[in-house]
Amino acid sequence: MDKKKYVGRSIVRKDGEEKVKGSSIYTDDIILSGLLFAGVYRSNVESGKIIKLGIEKAKKVPGVKAVLTYKDIPGRNLVPVVFDDQPLLVEKRIRYYGEPIALIAAESYEAIEEAKDKIEIEVEKEPRVITIEESIKKKHIVNKRFSENIFQEYHIKRGGVKEAFQNADLIIKNKYSTNYQEHAYLETQSMVASHDLNGRFSIFGSMQCPFYVQEGVATILGIDLSRVTVNLMTTGGAFGGKEDVPSIVAEIAALLSYKTKKPVKYILSREEDISVMSKRHPAYIEYESAFSKNGALLGVKVNYYLDAGAYSTLTPIVLWRGVIHAIGPYTCDAVEINGYGMATNKVPCGAYRGFGTPQIIFAGESQMDIAAEKLGIDPVKIREINAFKKGDITATGQKLKDSIGIRDTIRVGKKEFKWSARKDKIEKFNAKNKYKKRGIGAASMFYGVGLGARGGPLQKGSALISISKDGSVQFAVGTTEMGQGMYTVLSQIAADYFGISVENVSPSRVTTEKVSDSGPTVASRATFISGNAIKLAAERLKSNLIKFMIKKGIVKKGSKIEFKNEKIYETGRFIIGFKELSEKAWLNRVKMIEASWYLPSMTTYNNKNGQGDAYVVYSYTTNFVEIEVDLVTYQTTVISLYSAEEFGKAINPTLAEGQIEGGTVQGIGYSLYEDMILEGGKILSNNFSTYLIPTIMDIGELKPIIVEKPFEEGPFGAKGMGEMPLMAIAPAIGNAIYSATKKRLFNLPLRSEDLYNEFKNK
């Protein structure tokens, strides 16, 4: 490998030092003169009508500068997402516990608390829908606009399902359910809004999607999009939890700022954040699979229900991804998948790493294991039997052409994990130990990279790159850095396109002012989309420089020009240093700034029949896990977890491994620890002493394994990978629990109490 190249090398992250030293600037670090704090007065019923609302006493609390209701909104009372059904502030009808009713700006948090106590409200309670079952039965209609309590439904049908089940040797039918998952980002939601010159608004905050926030603020204030600038601050984790809801946070800060003419900071406490911000949808799944006796998956029927909460927000998109991936990375010629996003009187659910897919993978990959046992086939073998190969067809009829790594992840992972040898070792361990039983399990998955067909107009990306006269390069993109390492990875990509040192490449703060709407930073798309946008802009700049060199007679027209080792070469011969060239170009008024516009290949998916190419390309993962169950307490502990992941090319292997480790830990949390407890629609586990995420003591040995299968359209062959690590952990652990105890759990999280009940009811 060329030593001077950066792609493929684990360089230290650009923002590593400042983060380790604690000098990164977060939203809460912003101090502006006259800054006010924001607080929100929220509903304390799940469903009801506001009869009377009195804010006058609250306004008189010393230090309080504004108390606002929906009547004070100059624009539209709306949080724009997909269907536009969610108001920022309740007008009359309350639809979930904790829904915002009034906003307060004050000089101190104490004054906010006092003002909240002084708000007078009379609410007439109405029937409420808490479970998916109640929603399906239409116990109450959550929002009249969705008369069946269904926000969105999808149906995919392909092949002769009836025949497949008739001809099957084995049919497995089960019901699965999954609970919420809370993002637990270290930094809670935070925004600062302030007036700028000429009626402009500046927003500074923690987020994934500055362009969503821009639209939210412009909508609520009723002003032009061009008058709102959104600036990304250092963002302390997001995981999907800062995709759509930061618009709410920013709208609140902006509205209060608009009314008070002062800068306003709104930062949620952990308790408020867990109670009212988005989460992973709880799900209910009916999954029926048909197999031949040699283990081939012949047919699948799935009914997939998501508990969306009171507003549709991102449910249409979350559900779609789940439906598309419902079968897993397997060929299956007969499928019927029905997906429903159900309304309930609870906090709206949204995006979370994996986006509606971890739930359905839990069901599908448990089914695979059940089949393997019934057919007497090794669990890894049955996955090998069915896994995609080149030319195979997905559930939506998409023919897979390129970069299909599923079989590689199974093969490599199995070998590293020592699947067979481990099995023998565990048998010996279990024979010796009365109270501890070990087991192993595997699970595979595939992941459509980027937004896919349902992303519509958002499938695009822009980059702005400039070269300074000292030869340093600055780039701006529309996707965000939220801790995942995008600044570093894109800097590596840019450095290699210019053949310069990564030290001389500088990412500029993400802001809506530099580039045009590039879609959201979700769906593992930043490297792919912004990486390609950088490539295009870099090519333009290089072409400007080459033209200049030709004009000046430095190189000949038509000869092979290379940018590498901080130098320019003509057919292998050194010509000039990059710095020197930059200075020359500057002196000669060469255009040293270029913006690009990248559009990924088009998808052909048709929502009417659920057929067509859903995503441009897929990434693949197989997890292998060993667990130990304590038969005294029925608790499960992870001993080791190997994840073999194929995502084209690892631009920075250490950062990719970091993503794998972090996602795996979240997956372990989702599987074993994280259990949201509610009373009706009120969330009780609203801090980290009741909502338990795994600690360093709970995760066992983690081993990320990177498998590379470059994808032609990706920057340097990269696809996308940020979400995969979390997604197929739960079924692997569930399968391992079965292998240890012969007890199967069908509900997530895999609770010790549920396992205890299985033992009791044997």
Binding site: V632, T633, I677, S685, Y756
Partner: protein, 268 residues
């Protein structure tokens, strides 16, 4: 509310302050319970007396017949004490698994007792080791058996002017071989116990104390050769578990029974 914060520098000032403010005042040791409660608005004392500089309440002292642990001794200090690790093994295990390093550096044994939670980790070991608690006030001192100290969850016999001075453990050799502490938390760190069990073998009997399964710690003694039925009967007599956010009554009961059985099996 605007709390009055008083920083006392020695035992005498502490006793004087507590005498003066009595019921209105709460003592702040490590604050890992008190501050959490204040934040959650479960408590809002008029006066807070910080005792963190009261050296007389710190440290572990070996006397002729007793081991004395000052109430302001942190869990980390207990964890690092070699004599406790060797001869008071259940207490070592309890502090070793308590909270996290940060909590152990701040939290004190006096605070753990003063908090009187049914799942306070140091309490079951202190029960089976027959610990006593020395209480002090401006007007004198008294020594009570730990079994008589707790009245219910969060309730103790402490009088308004009294403080916990120290914990007195009769000298013993409760080594790793013959004693232990078993905590069932929902994860391996920073988890309040769902149930906990401390145990000591004395000749042909095993003494048990149970946390998290009754309003205060409960205890029982079981003969090593008792049969399963007998064991079950004795244990169920001692405990009265309830359903809560951390676990059901039945789960708690059966896990306690499993632990007892395992300890019996491991120590034939």
């Amino acid at each position: 509310m605007n709390n009055i914060f008083i920083n006392v520098n020695n035992l005498n000032d502490l006793l004087t302050a507590k005498n003066e403010y009595g019921k209105k005042a709460k003592i702040l040791a490590g604050g890992t319970d008190l501050v959490v409660r204040m934040k959650n608005k479960m408590m809002d004392p008029e006066v807070i007396i910080s005792i963190r500089k009261v050296d007389e309440l710190k440290g572990i002292h070996s006397k002729k017949n007793d081991l004395i642990i000052g109430s302001l001794t942190t869990h980390s200090e207990i964890e690092e004490n070699s004599s406790i690790k060797k001869n008071y093994y259940p207490l070592f295990q309890a502090v070793y698994s308590l909270g996290s390093p940060q909590i152990r550096n701040l939290g004190t044994i006096g605070g753990n007792i003063g908090n009187a939670s049914p799942s306070g980790d140091t309490i079951p070991p202190l029960y089976i080791m027959d610990a006593k608690i020395k209480l002090m006030s401006k007007n004198g001192e008294r020594i009570v058996d730990i079994k008589n100290f707790f009245k219910g969850p969060g309730k103790t016999i402490l009088k308004d002017d009294e403080i916990i001075h120290s914990i007195i453990i009769p000298k013993g050799r409760w080594t790793k071989k013959i004693s232990g502490f078993y905590k069932v938390g929902k994860r391996n760190a920073l988890a309040i116990g769902v149930v906990s069990v401390a145990w000591i073998i004395k000749e042909d009997t095993i003494r048990f104390s149970f946390g998290g399964v009754s309003p205060t710690i409960s205890t029982t003694e079981i003969k090593k050769n008792a049969n399963k039925k007998k064991v079950e009967k004795e244990v169920l007599k001692a405990i009265s578990p309830i359903d809560d956010i951390r676990g059901s009554k039945n789960y708690r009961r059966d896990v306690i029974l499993n632990i007892v059985e395992k300890i019996k099996n491991d120590n034939p």
